[in-house]
């Protein structure tokens, strides 16, 4: 599922690099390369970038792989993308909220990863609300609340409670896409396995993904 999605999204980003790709050969090599390009972590779905990250291509161009953001993260939620995900993305920072979500540096005055970034790969934001790491998407087919069991774990975990996740008149959580900053605390809190919440990198339309899921399920 994620393969197809990412190919679609990153196709245009691939073009300028076509020459390089040719040099590296085709077949599996291409696949490996493109995986890195599309920032796809094996088994983890699409990669989420740290707070303040610019668009994927700009981020990849600006990030020096210095790992300073990874080192300063107080919750150790930033991880380097491994080599298995492709050469281009290797060692760039990402987060897997289901394992360790972004706690927005808890009590710190500013986000430490942004402050630590020596380039403009991670750019300062005016306030937490302005962050655009990604957008949460609730899969209503597996979300307990949507299935009829009373659960508000994601709503409770949301740092923008009642703004980014609101409860409908049946007490079911709904994501407000414009307000969601993509920290992934909801994904981390989700009680079902696998999580009923998918974190989409900012800019990916949740509706698009939702449709793709429908298609996949048949």
């Amino acid at each position: 599922m994620t393969d197809g999605l990412n190919n679609a999204i990153t196709r245009r980003e691939i073009l300028p690099l076509a020459g390089l790709v040719a040099g590296l050969g085709l077949g599996s090599g291409l696949r490996w390369w493109r995986r890195g390009q599309s920032a796809l972590a094996p088994g983890q779905g699409v990669v989420l970038r740290p707070p303040g990250a610019r668009s994927e291509s700009a981020f990849l161009a600006a990030c020096t792989r210095c790992a300073q953001c990874i080192e300063v993260c107080p919750d150790n939620c930033l991880l380097p993308v491994d080599l298995g995900s492709g050469l281009l993305a290797a060692a760039t920072p990402h987060l897997i909220p289901r394992q360790t979500p972004c706690h927005l540096c808890r009590g710190e005055e500013q986000l430490l990863c942004i402050a630590a970034c020596p380039t403009d790969a991670l750019a300062p934001v005016a306030e937490h609300r302005a962050l655009t790491m990604g957008t949460a998407l609730i899969d209503q087919a597996t979300c307990l609340a949507h299935l009829g069991t009373i659960c508000r774990a994601c709503w409770h975990a949301c740092p923008l409670i009642d703004e980014a996740i609101v409860l409908d008149e049946r007490g079911r959580p709904t994501i407000v896409e414009e307000a969601c900053i993509g920290c992934g605390l909801c994904d981390h809190a989700c009680l079902v396995e696998p999580s009923a919440i998918t974190m989409l990198p900012f800019g990916r339309r949740t509706a698009e993904v939702g449709r793709a899921r429908e298609v996949e399920r048949g």
Binding site: G107, E108, I150, E169, A189
Partner: protein, 773 residues
Amino acid sequence: MQIHRRDFVKLSAATTAAAVASGSALSARPKTESKDDIRWAKSVCRFCGTGCGVQLGVSGRHLVALRGDPEHPTTKGLVCAKALFLPKIIQAPERLRYPRIRSRGKLVRATWDEAMELTAERFASAIREHGPNSVAYYGSGQALSEESYLANRLFKGGIGTNNVEGNPRLCMASAVGGYVSTYGKDEPMGCYDDIEHAKTFFLIGSNTAECHPVIFDQIMARRRVGDRANVIVVDPRRSPVGTISDIYLQPIPGFDLALLHGMAQVIIAERKYDEAFVKKNVQFKAVVDGTPKKVGFDGYREFMQDFTPEKAAKICGVPAQDIVRAARMFVQGPTMSFWTMGLNQRITGVWANNLVHNLHLLTGQIGKPGATPFSLTGQPNACGGVRDTGSLCHILPYGRVVKKAEHREQIEKLWGCKPGTIQAKPGLHTIEMFRALGRDEVQAMLVLTTNPGHSLPNATVHREAMGKPRKNKPFMCVIDAYPTRTTELADVLLPAAVWAEKAGVFGMSERRYQYQPDVIDPPGESRSDFDFLLDFAGRLEGKGVVPAGFISAKFKNADDVWEEMCEASRDTAYDFTGMTRERLKQERGLRWPTPTEDHPGTARRFVKGEDPLLDSGPYANPDLKPGELEFYAAPDKRATVWLRPIKPPAEPPDEDFPFVLSTGRVLEHWHTGTMTRAAPELRRAQPEAYVEIHPDDAQGLGVNNGDMVRIVSRRGEAKMRAKVIPMPRPGMVFVPFHWEDDDSLINRVTLDAYDPGSKQPEFKICAVRLAKA
């Protein structure tokens, strides 16, 4: 009931699938066969007092899934997320498996026989040397009714001490005090069915959304139908209940009595009270020089002059116009009130309960479909299991009290005791019991299926009483299923079978007794509390401190005990002699009174046509017309509207300790969390303690969201992360009490002052100061 039932078929199938998945994800458990191999057994949820009907999916002797029981008459298949994890929780690796005895400071494995013999000997020697009042029982609203009944029988009738207490003292004692002082009879007279008839809900001191989620869901459903229900919420903290409120009032903690009086004053001033109802069914009383005195409606009206909305507003901190709005909405009946710990866990707990009843009595919002004052219970079996079986220090089974000679005689006769065995003086109530333990006056204590080392207020003191090594240290026997902050203090620790591992009866908030079967085997050498009590009683009989055969000759199993319980209820207001064991196994619970085997159970007490006690027996009244109401258990058959003064909390905030601390719960965990923390999913969703601080206060303190904060009271301190959020009112902080590590143990900070009537401690209010850690 039109209420939602969200596309039920799809729901239960999917929920089952989810539950099966979580069940089979357990380690060491063989992968579950296909869903067809699962046998479903009806049971009851193990958590709160809602008493949700559940179905247990059993494969062989393994519990592989749980789903809501769609055929359950009141909860209709709904459950909250916690319940789904019960299969995993009950089969968690954390479970205790073997008896242990403390040796050189460590708990080392022992045989059941060794552990039981030591326990019995320590109890027997204490009784011989210091008399029966040197031993004590501290039980639980989570034990089976038969277990509580048996323990109460053993201690009060066998050993001859009234030192029988339990955690319901921390939970609903004030609600009992409220019902008894107002109506002469404990327990909600209404039922869950009233939810679908109510037009207005008055929720006070109850975070129903998280503590009784299924009730909350049913209230929410009443806002989706044509005749949309109103919801008034009163809570100093803006809890998730706020998501469905029309009016949300946040009084100063401890001063909601003025708010309740203020509403009553508006109702009287605007002549919105039910004059005919009041004339027929109500009397007005005030306590003058320590004695209750009738003051009449005029006396009440005069008293209420001090609580005009403007005056009440000054006391409780809620704007006068909001008090008026709430009062006007309250009278748009049928009106149903719900409350829990916010009212009960207070030194004015009984009074606060009385004042809620006042509103219902003035407006006649009682005894009609949808109109009732309903106290929600926090534990699955506090109401039917502890309150009703008389397993507290001042009461005897089914509405009897130790103070009345007539009641003692009835029970002594039933139990086969020598006359005079049951003491006339109430035993030590919870806080005094643990204080006496600290003074080494109680020399041996049995703690059964509860966690006082975590749940008692002012915990440091009471933990030392239980566990601090000293000369003549009292002996502590603890029986539990999980390691807790109490099991670590035990001298003998016994592994308990729980819930689906043993059969018996739970009695929940709405007077419904429900049978739960044993469908799986307990882990290791665990035994039920029932088997433990039988063994313990037999050994005490052998040592001559309990009359020979007092327990052992009469009971072999829980069914035998149930038979005697039915007998004990005969001719009382609880009469459930018609609830045979067979019937309970068939039905999805029955509401007492159920005096005959063909009686369907009682939806509404005190109502002619519904309450069988008005048809026959000592309370019968043939002159009443169907639907008419009579408070038959009250003096003059009239309920009492009490004139209660305002009394500040035991420890109001001051210069040194400027904040009010209140504690509470989250949806994902339950009480001391020993069960829910055994589910990794619940633990991940709510991993650690936190303190909610209002943004204005946080700014003043220089605390950011996520900072570590110290919370200090005169008694102790805790350290946890700040959650800066406008939920508590300014000047108040809120901490959920589920986590057990030393930093999170918020009960080291709370206060053990208690209500002089109900003896329930004031968990909800104490003074603290905060500082960035």
